[in-house]
Symmetry: C2
Subunit: 344 residues, 2 copies
């Protein structure tokens, strides 16, 4: 009988950050596709769009006017999913029906005054201003009494539910720690207690020795396809130094972070020759005042495209009822991405 | 200050089946939508399509010919994500890089010879034949030594990654228990140990007293929008009697199950006047030979549509990085669905 081969045989992989598994079916990359194809968004946009509610000087839905901003711009989401002034309270029936009110703040961050740019098309120096703003917002929101977690993220592309092509991200800051960072808290703190080192520092060391899944690297950060990646071209940016949150980033680290975001997102755009859609997000320690020695700052990128600019990976029936499943292996995806990095 | 109101204020709800939370933002239903709209699939199909690889007598990709079947038809998936003959093995590096080979079987179940029907359009008596086949497959696959979990599911509609409109579902049966049923195992068995009753039986009782979230009911089953629903029109079918798996369903219960599936899916089709897309799946006890006194048979329906036939709910940035979020409340969704049920 043949011996087990990661590149050939169906298997599951363990995600030590969440404690969950993903099913990998390498042989399945060969199956034909007759299903839904996404429309390819026509991508010529003007530098300024008078109808865009994010462009400088334009008026938003609530009647407020954007300033003539020249780099980044942040404002409270006019239709935020979280609200500041929610009364405290709970609704509990018989232990099995349980709700709790949740206070929070939702903000929108415009990355650039230019309507036609994405992070991938911006200079690292411009991205640095976004990183500075993320740092400022994390500190400001995190210092509020009722904010215990600050989720910074971006939905890029209409396929990711992004409703406005003007380059922007969001911050949802709230009273409780959401499910995913809560899992990562448990796993990382437990690892730290047992080993006295951070889970991601140890993992990064293994990856840097092997280099099989590394996509691009600089002095302070590494972008790689994690061994347990769920999305076809999923990556994670991990800081080389073990620190808990963006507030602890040095000036040089902020430059390095900007540079690796630039490089990774530009690489993505080369995969299928289109502006590559993804959802990205920073995971870092809660802001509830407790110490989290095990937390290790990182950023996830979850891009849905699989075979082409118009065929995505569907996370549906089995994935919803069982667990995520992928075809192309993380190693093959990393190889493909690595070959498209140009270090300028 | 106002008092906390589930229909007004952002809050989170607890899912006792998984131990996880969902963020609910009732006020947000009012936000305008300028993002991606799905194409509406043109829905006139012939009864028989000579190019469909699922229609009777047609030839599949692997050269095999389908029989001239007249009710249901099951075969091994030609491009299964799981395979029977995988060599045993593991790949472990330093504890943080961990993979295990996984054996399994993937099957496709045609619900009807008719290319143009969906479960919603079939008679309960025809659906009964699908239920019979599910029961048979669960028993057959579950009795195999290396199969410890049998996941029965359906992806309906191209928006759910369904690559062929011929009405069909799938079964992925495998050696390990996938992540979602594993969570439900933990939660249900723990509840049973503490209370001596099944979690879902107790929950169902609360819902039947309130009737706020009940959509439709018959002698043996109830379909309702769970208090912790993630998808806009998510529902769950729960058996009134507490049993572990489809193998234990009586003849009358199988009739009741067929009837409630018919009624619920037909109701879905009335929401936006289109063939309603969803992923559905049966959750039941593992087939590893252990006793699972807490497990309570149920079926989930996860439909993506939100505001119209072409605007879906995107589970993206915040949802991927934090936890699921919804706008319309489960109570409002249940009201809307309940009003569309016609009991014939
Ligand atoms: O097997 P199918 O219908 O071709 O494929 C569909 O369902 C599978 C199981 O949920 C998913 O893994 C695929 O991404 C989806 O396109
Ligand atoms: O806030 P937006 O960009 O309008 O909305 C988008 O991102 C949100 C956060 O991930 C999601 O809840 C929405 O479903 C999605 O359409």
């Amino acid at each position: 009988m043949a011996t087990f081969d990661l590149a050939e045989h169906p298997h599951r992989r363990y995600n030590p950050l969440t404690g969950e598994w993903v099913l990998v079916s390498p042989h399945r990359s060969k199956r034909p596709w007759q299903g839904q194809q996404e429309e390819q968004a026509c991508d010529t946009r003007p530098e300024y769009d008078p109808t865009c509610y994010l462009c400088p000087t334009n008026t938003r839905a609530n009647g407020e006017q954007n300033p003539a901003y020249t780099s980044t711009y942040v404002f409270d989401n006019d239709f935020g999913a979280l609200q500041d002034g929610v009364p405290e309270g709970a609704y509990v029936v018989g232990g099995l029906i349980r709700a709790e009110s949740e206070r929070g703040i939702c903000r929108v961050i415009c990355f650039s005054p230019r309507h036609d740019l994405t992070l991938a098309e911006m200079e690292a120096a411009e991205i640095r201003k976004v990183v500075d703003l993320w740092q400022k917002e994390y500190a400001e929101l995190g210092s509020l009494d009722f904010i215990n977690y600050v989720q910074i993220f971006e939905n890029k592309g209409s396929i990711m539910g992004c409703s406005n092509p003007h380059p922007h991200g969001q911050i949802w800051a709230q009273s409780t720690v959401p499910v995913e960072p809560a899992k990562e808290t448990t796993q990382q703190e437990q690892y730290f207690e047992q080993h006295g080192r951070s889970l991601l520092a140890d993992y990064l060391q293994l990856e840097l020795e092997r280099r099989e899944r590394v996509v691009v690297e600089n002095e302070h950060f590494v972008a790689l396809v994690p061994f347990w990646a769920v999305w076809p071209f999923e990556t994670i940016i991990i800081s080389k130094r073990h620190f808990q949150h963006i507030g602890q980033m040095s000036e040089e680290e902020k430059d390095g972070f900007s540079q690796i975001i630039q490089s990774l997102t530009a690489t993505y755009d080369r995969v299928f020759g289109v502006s590559f859609p993804y959802s990205s997000g920073i995971h870092q320690s809660p802001t509830d005042g407790q110490a989290y020695p095990g937390w290790h700052f990182h950023m996830h990128f979850y891009p849905p495209l699989l075979r082409s600019a118009t065929v995505k990976k569907f996370m549906v029936g089995y994935e919803m009822m069982g667990n995520p499943q992928r075809d192309i292996t993380p190693e093959a995806a990393a190889r493909l991405l690595r070959d498209l990095v140009t270090t300028s």
